[in-house]
Symmetry: C2
Subunit: 407 residues, 2 copies
């Protein structure tokens, strides 16, 4: 069993669905917190569970460099390594190779690059990315793609898209031949009976589906900012029959209207009965917009990264907790938020923690921002199930959440 | 009502007791985690509660500089500011003035010093320290003392002790005249009825004792490393009749045997029926030793600071989680520890988090070390109540917890 996706409700293009994966259920639309190197920065796993995170993302490039995929494989895969027994997704490593590493050399075969950590030389190809992602063992893994730079001429975008398509095919071929090697599938019950030294809860022993489960490989639509290339790429990927499709190469510096236009031009060419994942977006109001365009899954570092810089998302807009105006403010970050931070701590206290550069500032700010994103997506999903999304959407839009809060 | 201290059991010099304070019960012997600037670094308050921390410490010097005691007073005191409704203790600021600040100028009146943060000039005196500590509103506050440097000639130690005694008297006089000004005592129920804007739980509304409660001011025994001066200082403080007594000026660079000797020379001159607080110690095996010498309360930055440097305390000794030997180690930090970190995460994962400089390393390491200290002190207390402390003490001593773990 890999992926079972069922639509529960639709309103306009917006969809609510259920996706069953080897490590459990994901209710869509869903926001996936980013756990770059096997940790959603500053947040313990039990708090992520409390927050209702159903699926988190790991970054193949980062995990390959540190701790290394062989180490994670030996330790039973990423779920067991980080003690997270709910679904996970890994990206292909392509985006980080293009955005973080130095001295890239791209050939038909793959990409040679230097680590941003120590300058050491490495090589990623579709086969290599699959090998690594199988070792990591996320429920959903991504085909190795080239993230086309922006701006790009049409001819360059087309050439890049063709490479992404050939790499998608190579990714699929390697994956089909090697998917049985995922570490959690190979674990026999005998091995667990003898491994009693540690008191750890092994997620693998709690989920019988893992015995027969396989990962799901998603294809990634590229094509730059050209709607016709996006259409072509989507159609040719659909012919390869992936269990789900991602839209990549967006949020790379283009204006937001153009992102919407490209998403709009791509979604109609993706199958109704399979999940659609828009990679690397966005602000709270953007994620609601993309649901309205028919997207089911999103991920973004924004809630976690912004939190570490003191930028908090609220139902009244953005709030910069550094502000001196909060020094004597006894109210919570967001009076409409029921998270454990808003239930307990004042703006005055959080402002003090941030000003004093205390670790607890980063912990609490991150918990609040993730709660805000996850609560927003749950409200979106609920409104679709109730046939009330259109009203929810226009109300949400009128709030202008990208503006500063005036409270 | 200020402090009600009852002994429950004694074995040799070791004592188990109960101390009732305005914000609740403290069972002694007790270890107090240090929350320097209104946060035990990296640990949310709900986790401290889960860990069973009954009382935490705040640093007057740090809080005076940031966020400032006027701000904390306006916000209802430290308990309400940081949302911690269990007992707290603040130190006098003396130790940090002497150890952290620049350009100190000491007179009979007090100390002029420069902030380690921005070089600004400030003045602390016994009266000023009391004013600040009353504004912060901890359940237990400390007389302003001079922490005698080590080594110090006898004449210098004597002169410093005499100053500490005069300052203790001035601290007590100011405190007695101003103790009704503690912010949580002044809060009327009317004020709370109209303050409905915030969803915060105000600790003050949950504890009727606060209406009549007062802080307790402890005296501090100084006298350098001279047993006769320690005896004299203790006796003269006892004449002033404080509700509890601290032993200060230790752990300032002297050999550990000398610390034991000075504690041993001081404790017999403190009253049986009042709590004894040894300031700023120690390692896990040291805290057990000091209980054996008749100490009831201790605080130390060691568990939290060491955690942030990857040094973990275990029942087998110290463990440096950076070690490459842990890269594939699926066991918990300490197989004998039941804390939430040991129950869930492997050494391999914690080693990875530390090596990758992840915030979660500091969070989880700190939680484990605090659990180890608090569990150790609970076990000590239990053994005294059961009349089993002598056996516990010699077993604990034979474990040699200051050596590296060999596991």
């Amino acid at each position: 069993m890999s992926l079972n996706f069922q639509l529960e409700a639709q309103e306009g293009l917006a969809r609510a669905g259920r996706m069953v994966l080897p490590h459990g259920l994901v209710e869509t639309p869903v926001f996936m917190p980013v756990g770059t190197v096997a940790t959603v920065k500053a947040v313990p796993q039990d708090v992520l569970e409390e927050l209702g995170a159903q699926i988190i993302l790991g970054n193949t490039y980062h995990l390959y460099l540190r701790p290394g995929y062989e180490q994670v494989r030996i330790l039973g895969g990423l779920h067991r390594f980080m003690s997270w027994d709910r679904p996970m997704l890994t990206d292909s490593g392509g985006f980080q190779v293009f955005s973080l590493s130095d001295l890239r050399k791209l050939t038909e075969d793959g990409v040679t690059f230097r680590s941003h950590l120590d300058g050491s030389s490495h090589f990623f190809s579709p086969e290599r990315s699959m090998e690594i992602q199988i070792a990591l063992g996320a429920d959903i893994i991504m085909a190795f793609d080239e993230c086309t730079e922006h701006p790009a001429e049409r001819s360059r975008a087309k050439q890049s898209m063709e490479l992404t398509l050939r790499w998608a095919s190579r990714s699929k071929t390697y994956f089909e031949e090697h998917k049985a090697e995922v570490p959690w599938r190979k674990v026999s019950s005998f091995e667990f009976q003898v491994s009693t030294e540690s008191k750890h809860c092994h997620p693998e022993t709690r989920n019988p589906k893992l015995e027969t489960g396989v990962q799901s490989l998603f294809g990634i639509v590229q094509g730059g900012m050209y709607p016709d290339l996006r259409k072509e790429c989507a159609e040719r990927l659909v012919e390869m029959n992936f269990p789900g499709y991602a839209i990549g190469g967006l949020s790379v510096g283009e204006p937001r209207d153009l992102t919407y236009e490209v998403v709009n031009a791509t979604v109609p060419h993706l199958p109704q009965n399979k999940p659609r994942y828009l990679m690397g977006v966005g602000t709270p109001d953007e994620i609601v917009e993309y649901v309205a365009q028919g997207v089911d899954m999103m991920d973004c570092v924004l809630p976690t990264r912004a939190a570490r810089h003191g930028l908090l998302f609220t139902s009244h807009g953005k709030l910069n907790i550094k502000g001196a105006r909060y020094a004597l403010d006894e109210g919570p970050i967001d009076p409409n938020c029921g998270c454990k931070v808003c239930s307990r701590y004042s703006r005055a206290y959080l402002r003090h923690l941030y000003a004093a550069n205390e670790l607890l500032a980063q912990v609490l700010n991150t918990i609040h921002n993730l709660a805000f994103y996850l609560d927003t997506m749950r409200a979106v999903r609920q409104s679709i199930l109730l046939g009330d999304f259109s009203r929810f959407h226009s109300e949400f839009r009128s709030r202008g959440l990208n503006s500063p809060a005036h409270t």
